[in-house]
């Protein structure tokens, strides 16, 4: 199936199986900072991308679903020579450590600020629950009621 979409502002076309995971399609496109930390479980958020302005786990979206959509990936923010304010602030705050999903966190925080330029602490916490921060360990989503026995 032919998939036409916009990735980080550029028109892209793929002739691929529409049941392919969106992450795999993005890897073909070279967006390798869309990573997998949880066997596609939708827990850690390392595979976060924006589809038409909405954060999704790229491992839980099929390529066929993004036909005609606009996609933003973590590497579509600033590059290492020209960082965005959010990326630079993350480094300055000391939270970029092992950083396996720091790019995805930067994307999510950027999206949050674009949506709401004056977020409260609670709003930041709520939105970042879709993440597991490896070093800070405090950004994780409670998708299911967890076993606590």
């Amino acid at each position: 199936m032919r998939i036409d979409c916009i990735i980080n502002g550029k028109n892209r076309s793929f002739d691929i199986d529409p049941t392919m995971r969106l992450r795999d399609m993005l890897l073909i496109n070279g967006n390798f900072a869309v990573r997998d930390s949880d066997d596609c479980e939708g827990f850690c958020g390392s595979d976060t991308v924006l589809v038409d302005g909405t954060p999704v786990y790229a491992n839980l979206v099929l390529a066929g679903e993004v036909n005609g959509c606009e996609i933003r990936t973590p590497d579509g923010l600033g590059n290492s020579q020209h960082l965005t304010i959010v990326q630079q602030a993350m480094i300055d705050a000391g939270v970029v450590q092992s950083a396996y999903n720091a790019p995805a966190a930067a994307l999510l925080l950027t999206w949050l600020l674009e949506k709401n330029p004056n977020p409260s602490k609670e709003e930041i916490g709520k939105e970042s629950e879709s993440f597991q921060g490896g070093d800070q360990g405090c950004l994780k989503r409670n998708l299911h009621q967890r076993r606590r026995l």
Partner: protein, 815 residues
């Protein structure tokens, strides 16, 4: 977010990012951009998976469904017919070389008790075969077509089962010693079982007895503990149990290896590049000059990447096939076939007098090392050697035994045994204070060590050799305890408006080390390039903790160079010199000190060459910003650019390159105290950590903002261990919680409402610019602090982590 918003609105940060230390220094002790930050945050190529080439083959491992079984036969004929399959590796076509996967100093204090593939599988998830194929799909399909005939054996999963008379033996093969073999070894080996058991080879005696499932043991005493117990006002005795937990790095273990020009190149996400090279060399038979380890950025280590868990097999696969091979663990494999924290049973007996003086301490540690002995001696020893030296007590005894079982393997994990020993000892001290009717804070203040106190207990606690008896060095322990007590209003009872919720407070003293004196070894090579910039080749392994930034700051500070004129290249075994690696909290102290030695030598070379070029005396010259030599006598200057350019002009003395080696017998111990305020719902058993204050003496925090985040991260991890995380095994040894959703890492909603990390300012005599370690120690305090706070809240001692609502309700007698 706060910083970004401030910059967006006002063009600059208004908040203080982190405190600064050492005003006399330019960059050390100041918050500043982590040098690998831009690469990492922008999603540039950084991790192993980013370097995999399109022609790469994939490797998938077939794993044992049984906790213990002999392999009778393996039929891979159908699997080999799958299109794209290159090779299938099993015990039948791989070397019989016995080794172990712990990345420790050589000779290791761990037994060589495994091969690449064994003919006896010892845990669910143990390697049975590996398929190398041109696609991942082909490798998986071929794996599913391998037929294995197992002879299933009985298994043991706990230390109690392992120590029981007549228990099934995890290892029952031939025992060998590289040194120190006992006189009766031949007699001992007559009891060896089936040849498929393989061998257990000790580099030196670990006081083991595989016929009792004992992988290692140790014991020692100072003073007379029994005498102390007999003549004290009160004695408490309790057992504290910890669960099996996993590191859960966001980047699961992975490796990419390829042959090029007769050499094996391995891209590794590792804490120990040089140990990887040595062990890959052992299994392939290649000498070290034929192996090139490239440590990429590491997406989370926490000790699990101190072990060579995937590089051995991937390196071997690339070597025998001649094809580039990539292997990437699934999350399930991380849990069942990787490494975990050793589950431990810590039995403590402690005595004291009415004046609060602790008179005697006995620790009995029983640890579960799983099927193989990675770190089997040293992790449990750390539960004693990094806890007992907190106490000024003349009578102390420890007795530790480590058992083989058929659980998923255990290994190194941030804290390295200390979190469990600290849990037992601090809880016992709180129980003793409670029994004596003494304020726990007063007891802590009366019994903690201080600078100069001679640590006799360390004599028997070396890592496989006699330990160094040293006095306590720089020590911020007292300040951490007093400051934390003030912060949390120690002694003030908090009351909830909801009668179901009871609030309590607790804290724990903590310590760790800064590497292993007498064992660890670091090197660095500092090069002045022809334009006056510097490249530092550090053997150290930055695993995200900021070690490369520390090395860059050291160069900047000594040579007075701007940070952007310094590049740190680290963990590459071809271009850098030997370093034992990033473990035992050694990075800052050892690798940082090697950078200091190399850079000071380079400075000496610069001064000497400048004296020649300037026609001045060396003693009249010094360096200054932005990278030049100046004469205090004549006022003349010479830039590093001019200096180096002339030296490399064809008629000069050549490039200035300095090599620094750092080893030491000195011990720089970080101290601290962690405080918790918890609320316990006595109707539901729910526990909320309302406040957590982590106060630590890290010497000079070279990267203060990174250091603070290391503390926050480690505390969150240890809150997870304390309250939630647990690898639950069924009766056949299968892990029921081998995914992120079921396992139980803490969520953002479970972060303490009031969460502070505080750096106690202490300047250490031996550390680079006074620095000590920061991260591992931060894993040690949460369990006892929360456990003691739970008792303060509702009067029950939870002596088993994770401290779940169910355990609280049981202790309260409600279920």
């Amino acid at each position: 977010m706060k910083l970004a918003l401030e910059k967006m609105k006002g063009g600059c940060y208004k908040s203080e990012i982190a405190p600064s230390f050492r005003p006399e220094l330019e960059v050390i002790g100041k918050p500043g951009a982590k040098i690998d930050g831009p690469q990492l945050v922008s999603g540039e190529r950084a991790f192993v998976e980013d370097y995999v080439t399109p022609d790469t083959c994939y490797m998938v491992v077939l794993r044992s469904p049984h906790a213990s079984a002999y392999i009778n036969s393996i039929d891979d004929s159908e699997a080999r017919k799958v299109e794209g399959v290159i090779e299938i590796l099993t015990a039948y076509n791989t070397p019989e070389t016995h080794y172990m996967q712990a990345g420790q100093g050589n000779p290791e204090p761990s037994p060589h008790d495994r091969r690449l593939f064994n003919l006896k599988v010892r845990h669910v998830g143990d390697r049975v075969a590996a398929v190398i194929a041109e696609t991942l799909e082909a490798a998986k399909e071929a794996c599913s077509k391998i037929k294995v005939d197992y002879e299933v054996l009985p298994a043991v999963f706990t230390v109690e089962e392992a120590m029981a008379p007549g228990a099934p033996l995890v290892h029952n093969g031939i025992v060998e010693y590289r040194s120190g073999a006992p006189a009766d070894l031949d007699e001992y080996n007559k009891k060896a079982g089936d040849p498929r058991e393989g061998k257990v080879i000790y580099q030196f005696p670990l006081h083991a007895d595989i016929h009792k499932n004992i992988a290692a043991s140790n014991k020692g005493e100072i003073g007379n503990v029994d005498e102390a117990f007999a003549h004290s006002d009160a004695v408490v005795e309790a057992t504290y149990q910890t669960s099996q937990i996993q590191h859960t790095p966001l980047e699961t273990h992975l490796c990419f290896a390829k042959m090029e020009g007769g050499r094996l190149t391995v891209y590794a996400s590792t804490q120990v590049p040089y140990h990887v090279r040595r062990i890959v060399g052992w299994v392939t038979g290649l000498p070290e000059n034929k192996i090139h380890i490239i440590k990429t950025r590491v997406g989370g280590g926490y000790g699990s990447k101190q072990d060579i868990l995937i590089e051995d097999l991937t390196g071997y696969a690339a070597f025998v096939t001649g094809r580039p091979v990539f292997c990437h663990n699934t999350r399930e494999e991380e849990f069942i076939a990787n490494s975990t924290r050793h589950p431990m049973r810590v039995h403590v007996k402690m005595s004291g007098n009415k004046d609060g003086q602790i008179t005697g301490i006995f620790m009995e540690v029983c640890a579960n090392t799983g099927p193989y002995g990675n770190h089997c001696l040293t992790v449990p020893m750390n539960s004693c050697s990094k806890t007992l030296p907190l106490f000024k007590c003349d009578n102390m005894r420890y007795d530790l035994k480590v058992y083989y079982t058929n659980t998923p393997p255990a290994g190194a994990y941030q804290g390295y045994g200390t979190p469990k020993g600290t849990y037992g000892l601090m809880m016992a001290m709180a129980e003793l204070a409670d029994k004596l009717g003494i304020d726990y804070k007063d007891m802590v203040l009366k019994n903690h060590v201080e600078e100069g106190y001679m640590l006799e207990i360390l004599k028997g606690l070396g890592e496989g050799r006699e330990g160094n008896v040293v006095p306590v060095g720089s020590c911020g322990l007292d300040e951490a305890v007093r400051k934390g007590c003030d912060m949390i209003n120690w002694g003030k009872k908090e009351v909830s408006s909801d009668p179901d919720w009871k609030i309590g407070k607790g804290f724990a003293m903590i310590m760790q080390g800064s590497g292993l004196p007498g064992l660890d070894h670091s090197e660095a090579i500092a090069k002045l390039e022809t334009d006056g910039t510097v490249i530092l080749n550090s053997g150290g392994a930055d695993i995200g903790t900021g070690l490369d930034t520390i090395s860059a700051k050291i160069v900047a500070e000594i040579l007075k160079l701007p940070m952007d004129r310094i590049t740190v290249n680290s963990g590459d075994t071809d271009s850098c010199a030997f370093d034992t690696g990033a473990y035992a909290s050694s990075g800052t102290f050892f690798s940082g000190n090697a950078s200091v030695v190399a850079t000071r030598k380079l400075k000496d070379m610069i001064i000497k060459e400048a004296a020649f070029q300037m026609g001045e005396k060396e003693e009249d010259l010094d360096v200054r910003a932005p990278g030049e030599v100046y004469s205090k006598k004549t006022g003349k200057t010479l830039s590093y650019y001019e200096l180096s350019h002339t030296a490399c002009s064809g008629t000069g003395h050549g490039q200035m390159i300095a090599h620094g080696t750092f080893t030491t017998a000195a011990s720089s111990v970080p101290y601290g105290a962690h405080f918790a305020q918890v609320a316990v719902n006595t109707r539901t058993g729910e526990i909320k950590v309302q406040k957590f204050y982590a106060l630590q003496d890290a010497g000079t925090p070279i990267n203060p903002e990174v250091a603070l985040c290391q503390m926050y991260g480690a505390v969150m991890k240890s809150i997870g261990h304390t309250l939630h995380e647990d690898m639950i095994l069924d009766k056949k040894g299968r892990c029921l919680t081998a995914n992120m959703t079921d396992y139980g890492v803490p969520m953002i909603s479970e972060a303490p409402e009031d969460f502070k990390a505080v750096l106690i300012d202490v300047n250490d005599e031996f550390g680079p610019f006074g620095a000590k370690s920061i991260s591992e120690i931060a894993c040690n305090g949460a369990a006892p602090a929360i456990g003691i706070a739970i008792h303060d809240a509702c009067g029950v001692w939870i002596r088993n982590w994770p401290m779940t609502p169910e355990k609280v309700l049981k202790a309260l007698g409600k279920i």
